[in-house]
Amino acid sequence: MKILCVCGLGQGTSLILRMNVENVLKDMGVSADVEHMDVSSASGTSADFIITNNELAQSLQGHAAKIIIVNNYFDLEEIKNSLQEAL
């Protein structure tokens, strides 16, 4: 399973999101290939799921991946709930 964590530049907020997503997946006992990148790279990368925020989700509408929206990148509960719903 491939998951992309996406932000505007690809090295700050997406990396934080990735760290927290990896922690949550570990707790859930789910293994996945998690990467982080910016929006433009994400549009050209195939994946099963894309995790990002509301603002950037709009630009990724046409992507084949299922888009999961997280609003608070530091809220492990929110990340866990969103992942559980989607997976």
């Binding site: 700050g12 907020t13 934080i16």
Partner: protein, 146 residues
């Protein structure tokens, strides 16, 4: 690597709008020698072009640009605003804590983000940052968090 060292925390910062808030936080990195003034311009330009995607949690913003825009050392500074400012994020406005990130392509970058994530993953820490009455209080809090 400079993670919220004493010259990098400012409280009661006045900023009329988001760009000013970003400049205030970015200015702390420049004053500490961790970034060049061009990096601050790039941080503001990034906000103007890509929007407030870096307001990644309620009331918390992490503006940044690319290492090649003028970072000398991986670093994080905090400017706590006197009055919260709207950045235009549908869910997480208004912003009170502005963490300027001096992005780097080195391993220090990851270590820095891990420390920041540990700090901000905990809602109690976030509350303390919002209500601390002095930079010393914040420095004490940081000593307790790894």
């Amino acid at each position: 690597m400079k993670f919220l060292e004493s010259g990098l925390i400012a409280l009661d910062v006045e900023a009329p709008d988001a760009a000013a808030a970003i400049r205030a936080a970015g200015g702390l990195l420049v004053d500490a020698g961790a970034a060049e003034s061009g990096y601050v311009d790039a941080m503001v330009a990034s906000y103007e072009e890509k929007g407030p995607y870096f307001v990644l949690a309620p009331h918390i913003a992490l503006p940044h640009a690319k290492p090649e825009d003028g970072v000398r050392e991986a670093s994080v500074a905090l400017a706590r605003l006197k009055q919260p400012v709207v950045f235009g994020h549908a869910k997480n406005d208004p912003v009170l804590l502005v963490f300027a990130l001096g992005a780097s392509s080195s391993e220090e970058h990851i270590a820095l983000l891990r420390r920041l994530t540990s700090l901000l993953n905990n809602p109690a820490h976030v509350e303390q940052l919002k209500s601390a009455s002095s930079t010393q209080e914040i420095e004490e809090l940081l000593k307790q968090v790894n």
